[in-house]
């Protein structure tokens, strides 16, 4: 899942970015409103964590423009003001959630996860595909009741596929939503990680769950459906 963290106070922005990255998210950062809009236009972020008090362009204006551009991103407003007006203002402009500073990072993380679920219309924190269980709150995976140990990136990839169960996702989608390292999306990094993931969840003759659609991408689904 890809996040955009927009916060002008550098120490806070750094810690948020680090925290989200360590939680398995791909994170872009911006320190002012204009940069935030530029980032938001360039890539498709699942969740944008947006501070309201920003230089150049304030958070609410950024939000208004995002909504005018029909951005599908979920927006979580960070505000230091806790008056009802501020909250109502933000929500009416199309924010999906808000959090008043100071907050616990754990709470922010939980809300971001909830927003991701909402975006992919997954109500439960546990996604099941056949005998595969992806627990998005504990970031753990089981197949046939046996835990499977995945690396951060492998898990991020699997969670993205799981949120899009029964839908074909392109390599570019995966690239944009899962990875934030400097390599071009045309490289075969995605294929490499799909390979690693397959090895771990389709071990010992269990039925395949990750299927390749030539020229389209990948799909996570039970075979019978296809």
């Amino acid at each position: 899942m890809r996040l955009l963290v927009v916060e002008d106070f550098q120490p806070l922005r750094e810690s948020l970015t680090q925290g989200f990255r360590e939680a398995g998210y791909a994170v872009d950062e911006a320190s002012d409103g204009q940069t935030a809009l530029w980032h938001a236009r360039a890539g498709e972020h699942d969740v944008i964590v947006l501070d309201i008090m920003l230089p150049k362009l304030d958070g609410l204006s950024v939000l208004r423009q995002l909504r005018e551009q029909r951005s599908p991103s979920q927006v979580l407003l960070l505000t230091a003001r806790d008056t009802a007006e501020d909250k109502i203002n933000g929500l009416e402009l199309g924010a999906d959630d808000y959090l008043v500073k100071p907050f616990l990072f754990a709470e922010l993380l939980a809300r971001v996860k909830a927003l991701v679920r909402r975006k992919y219309e997954t109500k439960s924190t546990i996604i099941r595909i056949a005998d595969l269980e992806v627990d998005t709150s504990h970031r753990s995976v089981r197949r046939g009741g046996k835990p499977i140990d995945l690396s951060g990136r492998e898990y991020a990839l699997l969670e993205y596929l799981a949120h899009n169960t029964d839908r074909v996702v392109s390599r570019t989608d995966i690239w944009q939503h899962v990875y934030d390292f400097n390599a071009s999306p045309e490289s075969n990094v995605v294929d490499v990680y799909i390979g690693l993931l397959r090895k771990k969840i389709e071990r010992a003759g269990s039925p395949r769950l990750i299927h390749t659609r030539r020229g389209q991408g990948y799909i996570l689904a039970e075979m019978e459906a296809w």
Binding site: F9, L12, E22, M53, P55, A80, A106
Partner: protein, 492 residues
């Protein structure tokens, strides 16, 4: 002291009405008493004259020639009138009603005299006495002649009548007037209660309105549309006071919100950093960098809190002025030392126009804080590789210091906001940290404390200048005289 305006008004006006009515009635009574008395006396005198006119002189003899039917009042046994006449020293005649009694004998030749007395039948009465000489003489032949005789005798006549009726009339009149007066006082009292009640009603309404004012809602104003003219200023003053209170309260509220806001962001940074660092085991270097980061944030918060405290103290008037001789050039150098590394790091070109010494009389600690803030702003907000111009001089008896920087994005029309707490030119946020918009308002407050002023100027090419002007104070000029060389002056 009666506190109620209504009762006080009532008592005072009622007293005034009662006194006026009382005086009116008294003077009315007095004048009516006068005229009734004089009418009574005139009537009594007329009776006396009528009796006197019947007197005739026959030689040495005086005869009162009247028929009893002509003057029945002197005959009747019921409440009669009386008369008696004397020719010294004998009694000439008594009215039939007198029988053998006497009226008190008046002195002779003193004109008309009225006197109150007790009548022979015991009633109170009044007598008029007069002396006269009869002009009618009856000659022996029986002819009447009007010629005066040489031996005309002076007759003293006294006529008395009862005064019960007079007294009763006057008494009735008195009671009537007292009754009317009291009635008038009571009626006017009732009318006054109504009038005063109506007059006081607006005051009571205002009092009710004031009573309904709540600290939580200062936006309400007292109605002034139907308030009497005399109370209009009161209502206006109160409304003015309310407006000032409201704006002061809302400023306080905004200020508290701003403080909370400005402290919340760094606080969140601290919490998040701690949480993220603790979430998993890390290398020692990671811990160290997190600690450094938190210390920086904490220092920024501390600086902000200090500034806020100073500002609060300045506004509460708790800062005292400690004037002393100071070398302003030295102070500038001293303050700048803290910022020159940052200016160098940002590649700023610094133009220094403050050659020392600049001796002034001021509070160096306050001036240091002002300069610190101005330098901090200038170094932070100047554009990359921009220019800073710092100058200080004494003109007349004023000390003037200017701190200017290029790269300002503050528009001229924003200048008025600069001294407001927490106001920030937009790009200020780019250099976040301690710049939370408090510096200039603190500078403004401190220059005012130093009895000086602070001004900002925005000019072309992004020049932004802050100028402070302070009284230079009475500075002892080194006196050098030929006779006595100044102890500090160096031999040339």
């Amino acid at each position: 002291m009666i506190r109620s305006l209504r009762i006080r008004l009532l008592i005072h006006t009622s007293l005034a009405v009662a006194v006026i009515l009382g005086l009116l009635c008294a003077s009315l009574y007095f004048s009516m008493w006068k005229s009734t008395e004089s009418d009574f006396n005139l009537a009594l005198l007329a009776k006396a004259r009528a009796v006197a006119s019947t007197a005739e002189q026959h030689g040495q003899k005086i005869i009162f020639d009247y028929a009893p039917g002509q003057m029945p009042q002197f005959v009747t046994p019921d409440h009669p009138d009386y008369f008696q006449a004397w020719i010294e020293p004998d009694v000439v005649i008594r009215s039939p009603s007198l029988k053998q009694n006497d009226l008190p004998r008046p002195p002779e030749g003193t004109g008309t005299i009225y006197a109150d007395l007790t009548l022979p039948d015991g009633r109170p009465g009044r007598a008029v006495s007069m002396s006269f000489v009869t002009t009618i003489e009856l000659r022996a032949e029986g002819n009447t002649s009007e010629t005066e005789t040489e031996d005309a005798r002076t007759i003293v006549l006294s006529v008395a009548t009862g005064t019960i009726r007079l007294h009763r009339t006057l008494q009735d009149l008195g009671w009537l007037l007292i009754g009317l007066c009291s009635l008038a006082v009571v009626v006017s009292g009732i009318v006054l209660v109504v009038i005063v009640g109506r007059a006081v009603r607006p005051v009571e309404r205002i009092a009710r309105d004031i009573d309904q004012l709540r600290e939580s809602d200062l936006s309400t104003r007292l109605r002034s549309n139907d308030v009497p003219l005399e109370l209009q200023p009161v209502v206006e003053k109160l409304n003015g006071l309310l407006s000032r209170l409201e704006s002061a309260f809302s400023r306080e509220k905004a200020f508290t919100a701003d403080v909370a806001h400005e402290l919340r962001t760094p606080l969140t940074a601290l919490l998040t950093t701690f949480e993220v660092v603790r979430s998993r085991p890390r290398e020692e270097a990671d811990y160290m960098s997190a600690i450094d980061k938190c210390r920086n944030v904490a220092q920024q918060m501390q600086a902000m809190v200090e500034t806020l405290l100073m500002l609060a103290r300045a506004e509460a008037g708790q800062l005292s002025l400690k004037l002393q001789s100071t070398d302003a050039a030295d102070l500038l150098d001293d303050c700048w030392a803290l910022f020159s590394p940052r200016a160098e790091a940002r590649g700023l070109n610094v133009q220094w126009q403050a050659a020392g010494p600049i001796p002034i009389q001021t509070d160096p600690e306050k001036l240091r804080i002002i300069l610190h803030n101005l330098f901090d702003n200038a170094v932070s907000y100047a554009d990359e590789a921009g220019t800073l111009r710092i100058s200080a001089k004494v003109i007349g008896n004023e000390f003037q210091a200017e701190v200017a920087n290029t790269g300002s994005r503050v528009a001229a029309e924003q200048s008025s906001h600069l001294f407001q707490r927490f106001w920030r030119g937009d790009q200020a946020r780019a250099n976040v940290g301690i710049h939370c918009g408090l510096g200039l308002s603190l500078c403004e407050r401190l220059t005012r404390l130093l009895k000086g002023k602070i001004e900002v100027q925005t000019a072309e090419q992004g020049w932004f200048t802050v100028r402070i002007t302070l009284p230079a104070g009475r500075v002892e000029q080194p006196v050098v005289s030929a006779a006595e060389p100044h102890p500090h002056s160096l031999p040339v």
